[in-house]
Amino acid sequence: MLKVSDISASYGPIQALRGVSLEVSEGQIVALLGANGAGKSSTLKVISGLLSPSGGSVEFLGQPIHRRSPEAIVSMGISHVPEGRELFTELAVEENLRLGAYTRRDSAIKRDIQRIFTYFPLLAERQKQPAGSLSGGEQQMLAIGRGLMARPKLLLLDEPSLGLAPTLVQEIFQIIKTINREEGLTVLLVEQNATMALSVSQYGYVLETGRIVLEADAAELKDNETVRRSYLGY
């Protein structure tokens, strides 16, 4: 479904990615692991069009997308839930969700908002409140919900666990898993919390200083000596 080949990218003089290649097949949850600054978020930004690569290519459903604008890429079915959530903090929860569906022209938007509320009931109680007034966990739920409102084929999730209490993290990952199972949503998940990420994904890549250094089935990665030492901490 998604094929990233030999991508390099930089922010000014700082090279963030040095030839990253990865693949995500339909229906999978794929984890992209790595330390801070390894290039995880940059990889997602290249895929969603926020960062244009200096080399390599990105193909989605057989079409090259690495020269397209973020707007065009959303319309093709890739939703990016970015690092730091990037909510519209002064707009109401419900308005944030409606903006998630901005590219859609169909009439099922209202129904989809209700569907998001069944996944995240806490949001339903707060629909008229400004997004900035929500707790960290609720904001993350809203960010994911907003991403889902575009009815994406592929969801790019950047650090959904960041700054959240462990029970909330568990809850959010359960919901991601449910949506993946029930709706066949494909997910590319960036995480520092490797244990959590590998527990829900089928396949994983490990990034180090802008390069993929390891890739394997999730179960295999969990047993891998290097991964255990560097990312799992035991």
Binding site: L50, E86, L91, L99
Partner: protein, 338 residues
Amino acid sequence: MEGLGQVSATLSLPATFLAAAPPWQDPELFFSLLMAGLATGSIYGLVALGIVLIYRSTDVLNFAQGEMALFVTFVGWSLVLALGAGGANYWLIFFILLVLAGAMGAFVERTVIRPVEKAPVLNAVIVTLGLFVIFRGLTAFIWAQGELPKGFPATPLGSHLEPVSAWFNHDLWGFARITQHQFVVIVITAAVMVALYLLFSHTKLGLAMRATAQNPLASRLMGINVGRMLMLGWALATMVGAVGGILVAPILSLDLVTMLRVILFAFAAAVLGGLDSPPGAIVGGVIIGVVQNLASTYSFGPVFFGPELSLPFALLVLGLMLLIRPTGIFGRRAVRRV
């Protein structure tokens, strides 16, 4: 600062600069001053609204707002002279001017604002000051080679001397003493506000514009064409500002300082209401218009400002507001830039 001050002065004041009788002795004068303040304040408010719309979406203070409106108003003057201002003609011209203003705003955003969008704030300030000079120069070059000021022919906006009761054949419970022009200004300002309210809170486009103003990065991820929204924002703001210019033209004669008189009060109004609050712009404008009108007529104890001091008075209001509450009455973000 005669200009707008004169509007109220010509209303009912003799041509002396003595303080008027206090309101309880002459409530009629007080009421007409209030309405005159409301009308001139609406005009400040419209220009302020243009400033606020641009500040909200691009974080740029557009110092050229008034001069862009002046340019549009001069085009209007030429069109009125060429086509006549009779009935439907005038409204056609009004419409043409709105389209022109929108196109100008969009063009300016695309060509000179976009390149400094990510640059330091000072760059944008210098660019809008440059625009101020350009539009002023352009206006002077095209229209001021003949005689200035140019008087504006009578328009369907109504006389600024005749009371509105002449239109309704009814004294409207005393409200009809306000002039026709004041009445029209208040009605059009209210209409602009309702239209903007409907746009921003009841349409998808308006929601997208608000989203863009708040978080451009997230807006792109939602699939919003951020560049187009900023361009539309400038177009809209220039249109609103131009309405202010078009409305003020019939009462002030047109020359190169016409909008200068308005823009200073408009900036004061925008800061007073809160630089990021559209309703605040109108409220701020009305407060300043009313205060200006009252202060230039009444004495406060032994203190009498008079029309000459109404501009310093407005700037005093501005200064005090920045000291006491820098976010303005309705604003949420502190005025931290420029």
